[in-house]
């Protein structure tokens, strides 16, 4: 489903964020992405979502090389990917409901359909009663969950999550991971960047470990030396 082929990423500042990274995440596979702060986890996710372009190498989604996607077609690629951002990225002047509805509004779904699916998504993250509030009226963890609801409302074939549990207590983190597993069971590919080693250890999924931009370990959760 997602394949990295000797991908390098050098930022404009000269920082070599990813070095010769290769891996293949199959359809319906779920994996963790871990590594120290600044290891390149977010950079890797950004390459998949076309928020950055690789300096070298190729990223494939469902067999299509992303290098061939033109600027004009980027939005359509992003619609197939549910992304949870490290810094939530909500519309601050719209209530929670509108935030979660946004991907569906963009795709032009009908009002009834939107209402139904947004309510379902909010229910899954436990925020149905806060649908009418503005994001600024939510706690950090609640905002994070709004972001999660928005990422899954559209039932995308790929879900990318950047520290989705950074602001959640352990019990809630577990719940959210169960939600991802649920999606994973219906053949959605899930890639979760996290530094929560306890969570990784408990779940025992495939774990990709980055260190200084290089793929340091790819396999079952191995306690990294850091």
């Amino acid at each position: 489903m997602i394949r990295f082929d000797n991908v390098d990423k050098v930022y404009g500042s000269g920082h070599h964020a990813l070095k010769n990274v290769s891996f293949h995440l199959k359809k319906g596979e779920m994996a963790f992405l871990t590594g120290h702060s600044g290891a390149g986890k977010s950079t890797l996710l950004k390459l998949i979502a076309l928020l950055e372009r690789p300096t070298n190498g190729n990223v494939f989604i469902n067999g299509h090389s992303l290098n061939t996607v033109t600027r004009r077609h980027i939005p359509y690629v992003r619609r197939d990917i549910g992304i949870i951002f490290q810094d939530h990225r909500l519309l601050t002047d719209r209530p929670v409901f509108d935030n979660v509805a946004l991907p569906m509004v963009i795709e032009g779904y009908s009002h009834q359909e939107i209402r139904r699916r947004v309510a379902a998504a909010l229910d899954k993250v436990g925020l149905l009663d806060k649908a009418r509030l503005l994001p600024s009226m939510l706690s950090g963890g609640e905002q994070q969950r709004v972001g999660i609801a928005r990422a899954v409302v559209n039932k995308p074939p790929i879900i990318l999550a950047d520290e989705p549990t950074g602001n959640l207590d352990p019990a809630l983190s577990m719940e959210i991971l169960r939600l991802f597993e649920e999606f994973n069971r219906v053949d959605v590919a899930v890639l979760i960047a996290t530094h929560d080693l306890g969570l990784i250890a408990r779940m025992r999924y495939r774990t990709l470990t980055l260190r200084e931009g290089q793929m340091f370990n790819d396999g079952l959760a191995a306690e990294p030396s850091l």
């Binding site: 996607v69 951002f85 490290q86 990225r89 946004l102 963009i106 795709e107 009908s110």
Partner: protein
């Protein structure tokens, strides 16, 4: 439409619809967005009003200029309408003879209208306008001749046709001199041309500044919504989708700006008229200014919303593309 996943496509855009259904839903969606954008403006009345005030003021000046030049043109029209022919009669011609001549001329098919300025009236007017005043009371005799001012029909207003008419008039017994008024017409046209050119230059400047104001307002409101736009791009919104509310906002600014400027112009016109009417009392010359006709008002709204759209489009095109989600 999914680019990478063939079977995928739950979006409304993928449902099979007839062309009519597509058109209808296209219209409904646009109408809905236009209303939504109006609602956005309504929800922040203070700031929106401020923008509209700026626009209204800027627009009211071209409108005022237009009115001034329209009213000016009207006056000029009244003065310059046809090439007039002044016929000076011999001093010896008696009153009855003049009356007879006027009646004759009015039957000529080349002639539209004959106005008779009797020598007595002319003397009185001369006394009033020349500044010599009562000095002329000392004249032994009225030195002025009777004058007929002849307006040829439309077909005889060309220079050549008018000249033939002049020759025909010169043949008449009581006529001492016939004069075709060309020179002062040329002068008037020159003045009017300068005034009009100045107005056009100023109006162009102002329309440009309206487009700039709208463009600037939209630019800044895009910048103030930068994070929102980034979020929308992050979840897959196209530039077209993002820019639509801004384009509608531009149109609404234009419409409300035009409305406001209509009010300002009307007040300004009323004010100038009342000031002129103060003058009228001195001149005993009735002045009445013409406001904007309904068709002109509609035209103004269309032009203004067009300029609003243009301004916001110029701004949107450039700035929404430039915002790229980072982080």
């Amino acid at each position: 439409m999914s680019l990478l996943f063939e079977r995928r496509g739950q979006g409304a855009s993928d449902r099979k619809l007839s062309i009519v259904q597509r058109l209808v839903s296209w219209w409904i969606s646009h109408a809905r967005q236009a209303t939504a954008s109006l609602g956005d403006l309504w929800r922040t009345p203070g700031p929106s009003l401020m923008t509209m005030l700026v626009l209204g003021f800027s627009l009211s000046l071209p409108a005022a200029f237009y009115l001034v030049s329209k009213n000016g043109a009207q006056v000029a029209d009244k003065w310059s309408s046809p090439a007039q022919i002044s016929v000076f009669l011999k001093k010896s011609v008696a009153l009855e003879q003049v009356e007879q001549l006027v009646a004759d001329l009015q039957t000529w098919q080349q002639i539209q209208q004959v106005d008779w300025y009797s020598k007595d009236d002319a003397l009185i007017e001369f006394k009033e306008t020349s500044g010599f005043g009562n000095a002329l009371n000392y004249l032994d005799d009225n030195p002025l001749p009777d004058v007929l001012v002849i307006e040829p029909t439309a077909a005889h207003q060309t220079t050549s046709a008018a000249k033939l008419l002049v020759e025909a008039l010169e043949e008449l017994a009581p006529v001492s001199l016939v004069k075709l008024d060309i020179q002062w017409l040329e002068r008037l046209h020159a003045i009017v041309a300068v005034v009009e050119d100045t107005f056009i230059a100023l109006a162009t400047l102002l329309c440009l500044s309206v487009i700039l104001v709208v463009g600037n307002t939209i630019r800044l409101s895009i910048l103030s919504r930068k994070t929102e736009i980034e979020v929308m791009k992050l979840v897959g919104a196209t530039d077209q989708f993002i820019q639509r509310p801004f384009l509608y906002a531009g149109i609404w600014y234009g419409v409300f700006g035009a409305f406001l400027s209509w009010i300002v112009t009307t007040i300004l016109l009323w004010w100038i008229e009342s000031a002129l009417n103060h003058l009228t009392r001195l001149y005993d010359y009735p002045i009445s200014l013409q406001g904007l006709l309904p068709s002109e008002s509609l035209f103004m709204v269309i032009i203004a919303s067009g300029m609003g759209l243009l301004g916001s489009w110029l701004s949107v095109r450039q700035h929404i593309r430039a915002i790229e989600p980072t982080s």
